[in-house]
Every structure is written in structure tokens, then in C-alpha cells.
Amino acid sequence: MTSVPADDARAQDARAGDAWDGAPCGLLVLAMDGAVLRANSTLLSWVGRSPEQVPGLRMSDLLSVGGRIYWETHLAPLLHVEQRLDEIALELRTSDGRMPVLVSATVTQAVDGRPATVHVAVSSSHERSRYERELLSARSAAEASERRVQVLQQTTAALSRALGVSAVADALLAAALGPLGAASATVWVAEREGGLHRLSGDEAFLPDSRLLLHERTAVRDGERVVVPLHGQSALQGLLAVTPRPDAGAEPVDLEVLTAIGQHCGLALDRAKLYEHSAGVARELQHSLLAVAAPADARFSIATTYRPGVEMLEVGGDWHDTFLVDGSVLGVVVGDVVGRGLRAASAMGQLRSAVRAIAAPGVGPARLLSRLDHFVEQVEAAGMATVAYGELDLASGRFQYSCAGHPPPLLLPARGQPRFLWDGRSVPLGAYVHPGARSEAELQLDPGDRLLLYTDGLVERRDEGIDDRLVQLLQAASAVRMLPLEGAVASLTAAMLEGEQVRDDVCVLLLSWGSLEFEHQLSADLTALAGTRGALSAWLLGRGVREQVANDVVLAASEAVANAAEHGAGWDRDAAVRLQVRLVLDRGAGEVVVVVRDSGRWRPPVSSLERGRGLSIMRGLVDDVSVDSEAGGTTVVLRRQLQQDAS
């Protein structure tokens, strides 16, 4: 080192001091652990400290809380590893608040026993940070608004997809627990009487609805946030949301909740209106379908109507049976296009029109042609499909015609089921030539059955119609031995098994020259003598040999008496049901007697007594089975018919 004259050295020191203290930026020297060793006067004046306060001061003491944590967790580690920092935006803690600055620092390595130090330059960045702050706040506002729009879009889409009130409540709940991030949520819906009714969610508390009547926005209520759901003219309900308590969870956005509450209130308005109209339509449809079939010993009918799943509005399906004249039965199953009140009322009109047009000498084809004219006047009935048939109750002659409707199914008493593919034409109102409707004719044998149904029974989203018709044939085969009611129930259940979403289903099963005998007796058995006579006459009238008929009547009487005693316990109000069915197969057959009571068989007074009843029955028929369930006891007796039986 060259020697420097003393004056020059002093001058140099002075100049260095001027440069240090007079610099237009803050300058600091730190120890590696963050202790302040030196600070220039610019910096000291910014932070409002005197040179005497420097010893014991630490870098983090000069910074705002955010900056202090940042320094300790990010910047000090970075200085250790990278040995420098460049233009880090921080805030100084000043006597009157915070001052935005940019900080750069470099580490001077330890030399000659002097420890490593950190040289820090701090420059004011008021303008730049204001500009940045504006940019960033604009950006975060844009991001926040984008997130909100997304949540709002998702939620309103879900709300508008929901049809009924409970579906709207479920959609709201799903939104609250999903995109809105609530820990728990509860939806309350206003009742007609003015109270609130909890619809979904798990919180039991009831908010003060009087307060909410005047509140248009989401409000905090302790830990919860309560959101009023205002419809057009009234409070439709409210949503209570509990935010997640987790430390890192995003705070609840009251403005988004308010907006969703408004959407939901209107969605509830719409849902209630919709449910009202759907209810009217359902009532109308029920009243139309509830009309009893004519009573006549020559035929029996079983029907079922299953409303669509996941579809609130009724469809336009219907079935009807009526006497065209004393010996001709009209049978119809039809399906009006569309759903709801409009479809239900069109169905009602069409149903009345069928009854009005049907008359002796008209016949199925002409009836459909006249319906074509009718639907020109009733627009909503256009393109309806109809299967119509007339059965001569005396002869078993069946004439039928199908307007665009799935084919009726014949279930013969002997042989395999088959579809009736004749007499087909286009749906109502879609015909081209007048008089183009055709009809077909079929001779029924006693015990034959006819199945009419709407497309809901056979149409399925994931399967072709041909496959489904084959399945219907199989299902019909499987139930052909069952009594009429049971056959309809089993067949419908088999066809609709596992179906998640489906249309309405209407099924009508008609049996002619009925091979079924059914009587209901009260448990005091006052009517037993008459029933015995009727059964005997019925069996003989269907060609059952006298010996067999006598045995069957005797066994059936024993079973009925047992049921009255043990099942119903002589209770006058209890009933015993006697069903007898002739099953005729080629060259052979059997008679099946089913006796059902609604109670559990009591243990017999003595086993001798019970044993006597059963042994009598066993002596008279080929097979006796007793099946006791919670709902009652069923006794089934079977007796083979000889070749000459029918």
C-alpha cells in the first residue's frame, strides 16, 4: 500500500462521508445475521431514527410486518445462498406509516478476519409502487371478477336446470358446498302459511326470517352467513352458510352469495309455479284414469300406470275400457305427445272423443279416421299414438287398429305370446290419404289374454327397440301362469328393472272367456255356500269333469274355512280371497286354487284338528302348499286335469 499524505486522506474521508450520507438513496451495512452496523442519514431520516439508535437495530425492525416476515423467511435465506438481492419491493416502517422502497443487497465476503457483511441500497419507489399497485389491484380485481363470474355461471346454470323446489334447493346446496366452499349449508324454503321449512342441509338452527324480510343482501349472523332468497314478490326462502374454519380457507364472498340468492329466489318462484301446474295436470290425469272398467263376467282387466322417473310433469298416456254396446267391449291405450297440463288435457279430450265416436258399426279403422278429423281441431292431440280394439264378448272376435302405436301382444291360453303386427298405420293427424286407416281381426280362445301398453314399457335409451320387444315376449311368457293383477305387476317390474330415467308407462292386460274365478268372502263365511255353488258351476261350465270339480270345490272350501279360522280368526271385518285359475295346456292342464288371508295363521287348537284339514285337502288335490308371510298366509292347491278336462 502506498502512503497517502494526511491532508489527502482526511479529504478523502470527508468526501466518502459526503457520498455516504449525501446519497439520494438509503444505504446500510448489515452483519450476516441482520444486525445493522451502519446506516446513512438518508435512511435514518426516512425511518425517523438518530445515529445513536443504530446499535442494536436489526434490518427487520425497519420493515413493515409483511416485509419483516418476508425478510426472515425468504430474503435472509436467499442472501445466504445467493449472496445478493436485486430490486426487491418492500415497505419501510416510518414514523407516519409505511414507505414503499426497492431494496438491493450484496454480500461482501469475509476477508482477513473481518466477518462477511451485507451492503444494502434502499431507494424510494413511491411512484413506481403506486403504479404497480394500481396494475396489480386491477389485475387481482379482474381475476376475482373472473372467479366470481365462473361461480355465478355454474350456479345459475345448475339452478335453471332444476325443475322442482327440492331440486332447486339441492342445486343451491351443492353450489354452497362446492364452488362457494362452505363447510356446511342449509336451505330453508318459505311455506304457504308463512313459516320456513328446512329442505336440505344439516343445520338445525332457524334464522330470524322477520329480519330477512327487509334484508336484500347476504348478512353475517355470528359465524354464519345468511342469504335471503327473494322471489319477484315474496321471500321464498333462505340459505345459511357456515364458512370453513380452516386457517387457509378463502373468506366468504358476500357479494357473490347475494347475487346467487337473487337468482335462487327467482328459481324458486319458477319452481313453485311449475310444481303447481304439474300438480294440476297430475290431478287431471288421475281423475281421468280412475274411471272403473265395466263389470262383466266374460272378461277381466288389470291395468297399471307408472309415472316417469325424474320427470315431474305428467305425460299424456292413457288407457280406457268401455262397452260399445251390450256385447262389444272397446279397449284403448294411447299416448299424447308432450308433457304437462297441455298434454294431460289433450289426453282427456282424445279419450272422450274415442268414447263418443265408438258405436256399433263404426269399427277400429273408421274410429281412427274420425279421430284424425278430431285432432285437426285439437292441435295438442296431433301425432298422438293409439291402439284401439273391439272385442265381441260373446264370440271372442277381436278387431283392432294401431295408429303409430307399439303392437298389442297376444298371450294365448295355449302356446307362446306373439305381437299383432297387422292393422297398423301412422299416428293421428299424420295420415296422407283419407280412409287409409286399416284394421285387422283375430279370433280369441277362452283364456287368451291381450296386452296393450305405451312406448315407455319398451323404449330404453341404451337398447334398440327390437331387443326390447324380444324381452317383452320373454317377460310375457314368464308371467302367463300368474293371475291377471300379478302378471301385470311382474311384467312391468321385469321390463323396467334398473331403469334410471324413463317416460311414463301405461299397461293394460285383458283376459277373455275368463279362466279365472275370483271371490272375496268375509271371515264369518256367511257367503261360503253361495261361493261353493258359483265355483262348481264355473268349473263345470269350462268343461271340467264333475268328479274333479267336486274335489276342487271341497278342497277349496276346506282351505277357505281354515283361512277364516286361523288367519282371520273369525273376525267379521277380515277377508278371505279365493282365486281359481284354469291353466290349459295342449292335451293337459291343471286347476290352481289360491286362498289368501291377511293374517298369520294361529297355531291350531290341536294338531289333530289342523292335521285333519290338511289331510282332507291332500286327499282331494295333487299338491298343497302353505306360505305364511308377514302380510298374510297363502294356500295353493293344484289338481291335474285329465285329457278330457277342457
Binding site: D33, V65, A247
Partner: protein, 266 residues
């Protein structure tokens, strides 16, 4: 394995030696242990990892709901220990990861031999009869500042540090790891870290532990370290003659010495 990729797990040291798992705190990544972990490679099987959202972890695995509670991070620690099929480990957790280790050991004591807790704090915000070092307003100020993205917490921190004029060799290293954090995740991690209250979990821990505390730490003051060591069942407290919150970088030799003194000789 999925877990090992998710948390960018690295293993070094002796395969048969007792396992030691290092967990970094809020702010950086496993690089925080660069002066400490090598000191144990002769005597231990050393496992380092990045918390999900930090360093080389799989950012797509970041689930805001899971990681809004420290329990979410604790379940990751358990999964890492299980994935490596380690015998009971010595867990070394810095800063917020000290509490993450406390939660993991309380839940699955059979997986943990010892805990070394460097600068732990069960709650940063002051409460009745408790001084965490920060008032609720100060934490709000911190979060507001972060939410405003203004302090350079995130978006522009990495680019600014990277663009060191005249030292292009720094850029690649910085982009690849140290202190690189996705801004949204950093903000959430800050909330989870500074707003959690896990004081009640301390008494659930059976595992013997060592609390290492700097003499002067503005993030986790000495009295918080004392609070933790008094409430853990079998706990030693070592106070380093050092300042700041990161003795693993500023005083690694002291930290290593304190750990060696506590741990049984290998």
C-alpha cells in the same frame, strides 16, 4: 412412487443407518437444509422433500381444501415415511413444518422416534394469556399485503432475482429451485401457516423431542419456543446464540452441534 414424485423426495446417506427426515418451512424448499443435512450423511439415511406447492413438488397435486389445514401437510409426511418403508424416523422440521411434524407424530406415534423442532410456533397470533409475536391486525396486514400481491411476495420476485445483470449463471439455478413459489399457493400457504392454532395438539405428542430456538427470532420469539418445550411431554430446549428465523442457514454449525448433542450417538 406417486408420493415420492409428488413431494420431490431425495434420499442420501447410509441405507442401513437410522432414517432422518428433514422438512422445510414456509418460504423456500429443501435447499434450506443444504448446510445441515450433509452433516448427517455419515450417520443417517437422510431424506429431504419439498412441501406440495414448493420447490420441485408436483404443483398439480396442490389441493386448496387439503392444504388449508396443516393436517393436510402432516398426512403427506406420514405417506412419505410409509412410502420409503422407514423404521421410526427422526423428524427435523423447520418453522411451520415443526408443527406439521407434531401433528404427524400425534397421529401416528409408531412412525416417529424423535422430533427436532427448529423455530416452532403453535400459533403466531397473540391470544388471551398467550403471546405468539403478532397481533391479529398485523397478520391481517401481512395477508392483505400478500393478497394485494404488492410486496413482491410472488409473481415478480422470481423474475427480479433471476434477472441479475452480469451474473447470468445465477438465473438457471434460481429458476430451477430455491424459493420459487407459485404466487397463489404462496398466499394460501401463508394463510394456513399464520392463522393456524395447534396449541392443543402439543399435549397429544408422545414422541421425545428437541426444540431448537434462536436467541433472537422475530417470527418465533424465544418465549414461544419455551411455551412449546413446556407443553411437550418429553422435550429438551436448546437456545442457539444466533439471530433470525433460519439457523439452518445462518448458524448451521450450532444447529448441527445441538442436534448431535441431543441425538443418541450413532
Amino acid at each position: 412412487m406417486e408420493v415420492l414424485r409428488r413431494n420431490n423426495v431425495t434420499v442420501s446417506g447410509h441405507l442401513d443407518a437410522p432414517p432422518m427426515v428433514f422438512a422445510h418451512g414456509f418460504g423456500c424448499d429443501q435447499g434450506m437444509w443444504r448446510y445441515v443435512a450433509p452433516a448427517f450423511e455419515q450417520t443417517h439415511r437422510v431424506v429431504l422433500f419439498d412441501q406440495v406447492g414448493a420447490g420441485g413438488s408436483d404443483l398439480s397435486a396442490y389441493d386448496p381444501a387439503k392444504y388449508s389445514r396443516l393436517e393436510g401437510y402432516a398426512s403427506d409426511v406420514v405417506e412419505i415415511v410409509q412410502a420409503l418403508d422407514l423404521r421410526p424416523v427422526t423428524f427435523v422440521g423447520h418453522s411451520v413444518s415443526a408443527m406439521i411434524g407434531v401433528l404427524a407424530a400425534a397421529e401416528r406415534p409408531e412412525l416417529f422416534e424423535r422430533l427436532v423442532l427448529v423455530g416452532p410456533s403453535p400459533r403466531y397470533v397473540d391470544d388471551v394469556d398467550y403471546r405468539g409475536g403478532f397481533t391479529a391486525d398485523e397478520i391481517e396486514e401481512l395477508l392483505e399485503t400478500m393478497d394485494g400481491n404488492y410486496l413482491g411476495w410472488s409473481a415478480h420476485i422470481a423474475p427480479v432475482i433471476m434477472g441479475v445483470p452480469g451474473r447470468p449463471e445465477l438465473a438457471s439455478e434460481l429458476t430451477s429451485s430455491f424459493c420459487r413459489t407459485d404466487p397463489t399457493i404462496a398466499r394460501r400457504f401463508a394463510r394456513t401457516t399464520f392463522l393456524s392454532d395447534n396449541r392443543a395438539d402439543l399435549s397429544r405428542v408422545q414422541t421425545p423431542s428437541l426444540v431448537v430456538q434462536c436467541r433472537d427470532d422475530v417470527i418465533a420469539p424465544l418465549e414461544v419456543g419455551q411455551y412449546v418445550s413446556e407443553r411437550l411431554r418429553d422435550c429438551h430446549l436448546a437456545v442457539l446464540d444466533a439471530t433470525g428465523h433460519c439457523p439452518n442457514l445462518s448458524a448451521p454449525d450450532q444447529l448441527v452441534a445441538a442436534m448431535r448433542q441431543y441425538l443418541p450417538a450413532a
